[in-house]
């Protein structure tokens, strides 16, 4: 995990603008967005479809490069990095959980979890992956392929994969969107438990206001702008 002691700020976005398309089809996706998140803090990002939630996650994880503005992750300005440097930094610093799991179908659960560790040159990727699968309760599913797992199990493998490199930041994009209520509840608990125990910064994109309120802060987005950010008790912006 990158050294966050130098700064308490895990995420720092300043005046980020993002447009997609060109000419008449040009669309402002993010419009002068600024956002900070401290180490160990959890943020629930809510808003209607097309408000820019997912785009915000993509900018934060270096998958999308903003037109202007600054994006600092764990104290490092990532907009200045090359594509490969960003990929490498992301692999070590940010864990991502997707709505559709995105496990690699030809790899077992264990191999899926080991992928980011192998890419980062971890000395014992399989041992570490085994521990992470045990932590999400899937010790008995290590040799199973994604197609042999239930939706909930697949999402747990995805969480284990995101947590394996011990990232400073965990990003979850609608992690329960493809799951039933009960399974969704289990997955949510797992994410919050991991966040608390590992002191990670959590960014959770969700349509579910109830789920967002479990975070330390909620960020409401509309038309590419942060409309409001509030803590569990009071509005702060």
């Amino acid at each position: 995990m990158p050294d966050l002691n130098k700064t308490d700020m895990a995420i720092s976005l300043k005046n980020v603008h993002l447009t997609l398309g060109a000419g008449a089809s040009k669309v402002h996706i993010l419009d002068d967005v600024s956002l900070d998140a401290k180490r160990g803090e959890s943020l629930g990002i809510v808003g209607p479809s097309g408000s820019g939630k997912t785009s915000l996650l993509m900018v934060l994880s270096g998958l999308e490069r903003p037109d202007t503005g600054s994006v600092k992750i764990a104290g490092k300005e990532i907009t200045k990095l090359t594509e490969d440097q960003t990929a490498s930094y992301r692999g070590k610093t940010i864990g991502i959980v997707f709505q559709s799991f995105h496990l690699i179908p030809n790899m077992t659960a264990l191999e899926n979890v080991a992928v980011p560790l192998e890419l980062a040159g971890h000395p014992d990727p399989m041992g570490r992956a085994r521990e992470e699968l045990a932590a999400v309760g899937l010790s008995d599913r290590v040799t199973h392929y994604p197609g042999e797992l239930s939706g909930g199990e697949q999402q747990r493998v995805a969480i284990a994969r995101a947590l394996a490199p011990e990232p400073a930041i965990l990003i979850a994009d609608e992690p329960t969107g493809n799951l039933d209520l009960v399974t969704g509840e289990h997955i949510t608990n797992l994410i919050f438990k991991a966040q608390r125990e590992r002191g990670m910064t959590l960014l959770l994109v969700t349509h579910d206001n109830g789920l967002a309120t479990r975070c330390d802060r909620q960020v409401r987005m509309r038309s590419g702008r942060i409309e409001i950010a509030e803590t569990k008790t009071k509005v702060i912006a």
Binding site: T54, L57, M58, S61, L63, E64, E83, D84, Q85, A87, S88, R90, G91, K92, I96, F98, S100, H102, L103, I104, P105, N106, M107, E111, V115, P116, E118, L119, A120, G121, R161, P165, D173
Partner: protein, 850 residues
């Protein structure tokens, strides 16, 4: 990623690629088949050719009939030459010529290739006959009749059996055995007529060797010791006897003409095999593109988890190479069996053992071509894959791999394409042909790409039609991701090749069987002695009152120097090598030949008596770089004669009338013994008339050799037919690749069609509307491709026939119709097979996944 060492980077990519292989080879069937077929074709052709050449090399001494072979035309060795030869070791002598073998009742006759041997024959290998007799029993004189052996074909042709007699010149021979294997037949060159094997003593009774007769004496030497190599002895003999004019061959070069022809033919078939591989390359590209398209999420996931785009592409690069290796291995297994499969067929026309024919180098070459073609065609889709954005995991952003990948991928693909071209040129015997092939392949790709783009543009600009199915068909032709480029490229290449080869074959055969046969004289008569030539002409005139008889003196000579430089020191262009290779017929004339036109220089006066002059064939002079005033030295009857080129003539070789590359001024050969050559042209003579003339002439002039041109043309036509069969088989492989690629492309297109047809059915389209639309689409693409294939193939065939072969061109409409029908049958057939399945798809599961 950056922290990984190079070694770990490769290890990790290898590990990930192996994991990807777990999904098996589904989706790669066309890929595998295309690579396997192309590699098998190239590997098989080269394995068989190498096995034959290895057989020739291994049995060099047997094929040559000795360690060294000295050939002389129209004369026996001089005493000093004989002394030199006998000093080398054991010398066996054979005499070869052509003549007419007649039934004893003189009712029928046949041209035969006579070989008279001595008691030492053969020095290497063994003569196999049925019944198996010793040389003495086979050839000895019994009751005034020497013995002879011939292949079964001569027995059949003259309705003879063992024990019957044949007349040869003035001699009479008893046929005592059927030849099964003649060990040194390959070194004698291509024979138009069946062999007749007799003894030297028997030959002397025929009186066939007379001044100027076309008789070759061969002296085969079995070296007494091996202290000096055969090659060194050859050089020594050439230096010691500069004027002897003998042609010396060593067992390392036992049958140069056969080796050269095999190399040329195998090169041609290799290029056709390479065409199959190149066509298959389109299938490789399609399969790789479809595979990577199905792996977009995996690539995006890997990039999300910290992999670079190049690493993700590298993983699939390894996977593609692994799959290519499987295809190549299948191809090599098929190819390695080819020499065994071909051995019995080869034995029927070549007395060689090619059964031990595992040829690692030939297979390595095929594998190398397989890998290079895979790389050329897989790198661009891989380059596109490296650009897949990880953001696709969050939202479908409609990434279309339409643009070009990053420059390193383009450069790598171009470098490997250059390697393919370089390898094709490097391994070719005729590099010019290889370069033309490469140029044509590149041009075909560019043109086909242009044609598909043109079809799409035309479809896009067509006015809106009222018919819904037609509108849908036209829309499908030009929409993004349309089948048009794949179908045009794959089918277009195959059809072009097929049309070109069919038209070349058809034109050649028509030329031989119709055009040449009409123009050519009925007979060539060889070895007419000077004292009998007038009498001979008179007899011909009585036999064919309306016929035209031409006669010219004829000698044999070999070019030894051009412009005063020894031939060995000159680089002779391939197209003119036939002029300088071995002996050529030459003549002299006081006036220009009637059938030739002097294009440069002037003819000598009829009573010219100055330094020897020569008239050279214009085209051949240009190919050899000869100009007026240059000198040509020929060795005739052991004498070197140097003549100055006085003029050049334009010759129509295909007229088959009497033509010579070199016509000398009469004083050049004053006093030299020679025979005459005559032709008889009489269009009124039918086969029966020809037979009557032949019979009369053979009876009256038994030592004159008569060649009926129609028989010779039949042999040539049969030979062309056999070659064309092999070429068509190779072209069929290219077409199979083409069809495979087409089927693969159509199958890949069906995925989109399932989506479209479900939506259209939901909106009220009937099955009939959809089938009509799809049929029209396939019809239009197939028709456009057929028109292109026909036009391009015709242009290529026209170029080969008129510019390279210099023959008359004619177009065959049946080829056109067959091509169009084949293209439509393939596109509509394969298209509808897939579409039928598409229309049967249930809507609900598709709609749920939209």
């Amino acid at each position: 990623m950056q922290s990984l060492s190079r070694k770990h980077y490769f290890q990790l990519a290898w590990r990930f690629a192996l994991r990807e292989m777990r999904s098996g080879l589904a989706g790669f069937r066309v890929f595998l088949a295309c690579i396997a077929i192309g590699v098998a074709a190239i590997g098989a052709v080269n394995s068989v050719a190498t096995a034959i050449n290895a057989g020739i090399e291994a049995e060099g001494k047997t094929i040559l009939g000795g360690d060294l072979r000295f050939e002389l035309n129209q004369r026996v060795v001089s005493e000093p030459e004989r002394k030199y030869l006998t000093g080398l070791g054991t010398v066996a002598e054979t005499i070869s010529t052509r003549s007419m073998a007649r039934r004893q009742d003189q009712s029928d006759q046949s041209l035969v290739e006579i070989k008279a041997v001595d008691g030492l024959y053969p020095l290497y290998g063994s003569l196999k006959t049925e019944p198996m007799l010793s040389n003495a029993d086979l050839f000895k004189n019994i009751n005034g009749r020497f013995g002879a052996a011939a292949p079964q074909i001569l027995f059949d042709r003259l309705s003879l059996k063992i024990g019957d007699t044949v007349l040869l010149g003035d001699g009479i021979f008893e046929l005592r055995a059927v030849i099964l294997t003649e060990p040194d037949s390959l070194s004698e060159g291509f024979g138009f007529a069946p062999r007749l094997l007799i003894s030297g003593e028997g030959f002397a009774t025929t009186q066939l060797e007379r001044p100027g007769s076309l008789v070759m004496h061969a002296y085969k030497v079995k070296l007494a010791n091996d202290t000096i190599s055969a090659a060194d002895l050859k050089e020594q003999a050439e230096k010691q006897f500069t004027d002897s004019g003998w042609r010396i061959r060593t067992s390392a070069n036992a049958s140069p003409a056969l080796t050269s022809n095999i190399e040329r033919f195998s090169q041609f078939l290799t290029l056709v095999g390479l065409t199959a591989l190149v066509v298959g390359g389109v299938g490789v590209a399609n399969a790789v593109r479809a595979h990577l398209d199905s792996k977009r999420n995996v690539i995006a996931t890997l990039k999300c988890l910290g992999a670079s785009g190049n690493f993700a592409a590298f993983v699939y690069f390894i996977q593609i190479l692994m799959i290519a290796s499987i295809g190549i291995a299948i191809g090599l297994i098929l190819a390695s069996g080819a020499p065994w499969l071909a051995s019995s067929a080869i034995k029927s026309f070549l007395p060689l053992d090619v059964s031990g024919g595992f040829q690692p180098l030939a297979l390595l070459l095929a594998a190398l071509f397989g890998y290079l073609i895979t790389l050329v065609f897989a790198l661009l889709p891989l380059g596109h894959a490296s650009l897949i954005a990880p953001t696709e995991l969050f939202r479908e952003n409609g990434f279309q791999a339409n643009g070009l990948p990053k420059w390193p991928w383009l450069l790598a693909a171009a470098v490997f394409a250059l390697f393919v071209a370089g390898l094709a040129v490097l391994t070719a015997k005729d590099r010019y042909v290889a370069l033309v092939f490469i140029g044509a392949a590149i041009a075909a790709f560019i043109i086909l790409r242009g044609v598909s783009s043109l079809i799409q543009r035309l479809a896009k600009r067509l006015p809106r039609v009222r018919s819904i199915p037609l509108r849908m068909a036209i829309g499908n032709i030009h929409r993004p991701g349309a089948l048009t480029p794949s179908v045009v490229l794959s089918l277009g290449l195959g059809l072009t090749l097929l049309v070109a080869l069919t038209l070349i074959d058809g034109n050649m055969r028509r030329q031989i069987s119709e055009t040449i046969a009409e123009k050519a004289p009925n007979f060539f008569f060889l070895d007419i002695q000077s004292i009998e030539v007038d009498q001979f002409a008179q007899l011909l005139a009585t036999q064919s009152p309306k016929g035209v008889v031409q006669r010219v003196p004829m000698l044999r000579g070999r070019i030894t120097q051009l412009k005063g430089v020894d031939l060995e020191k000159l680089t002779i262009p391939a197209e003119a090598s036939w002029v300088t290779r071995g002996d050529r017929g030459i003549t002299y004339a006081p006036v220009p030949p009637e059938n030739a036109e002097v294009v440069e220089g002037v003819w000598w006066p009829a009573d010219y008596a100055g330094e020897p002059l020569v008239s050279f064939a214009a085209e051949e002079a240009e190919e050899l770089g000869l100009k007026l005033g240059d000198t040509v030295t020929v060795n005739v009857l052991g004498r070197n004669i140097t003549a100055k080129i006085a003029n050049t003539r334009k010759i129509e070789w295909e007229s088959m009338s009497i033509n010579f590359v070199m016509v000398f001024s009469p004083n050049a050969f004053a006093g030299a013994p020679h025979a005459w050559l005559a032709t008889l042209s009489d269009p009124a003579l039918d086969a029966k008339g020809d037979a009557a003339v032949l019979n009369t002439i053979t009876k009256a002039f038994p030592t004159v050799t008569s060649v009926r041109i129609k028989d010779a043309l039949d042999v040539a036509s049969k030979l062309v037919g056999q070659l064309a069969g092999a070429i068509r088989a190779a072209a069929a492989i290219a077409l199979i690749s083409s069809v495979l690629v087409l089927a693969g492309a159509l199958a890949a297109g069906n995925r989109t069609r399932v989506h479209d047809s479900v939506i259209l059915k939901m909106l009220g389209a009937t099955r009939r509307t959809l089938i009509t639309a799809f049929t029209l689409e396939y019809f239009l693409i197939g028709l456009a491709t057929a028109i292109f294939g026909l036009a391009a193939g015709t242009c290529a065939a026209w170029f080969v026939i008129t510019s390279i072969m210099k023959l008359q061109w004619s177009f065959d409409p049946i080829v056109a119709l067959t091509t169009v029908a084949l293209a439509l049958a393939l596109t509509i057939g394969f298209g509808l097979i897939g579409t039928w399945r598409v229309l049967g798809e249930k809507s609900a599961p598709v709609l749920r996944n939209l």
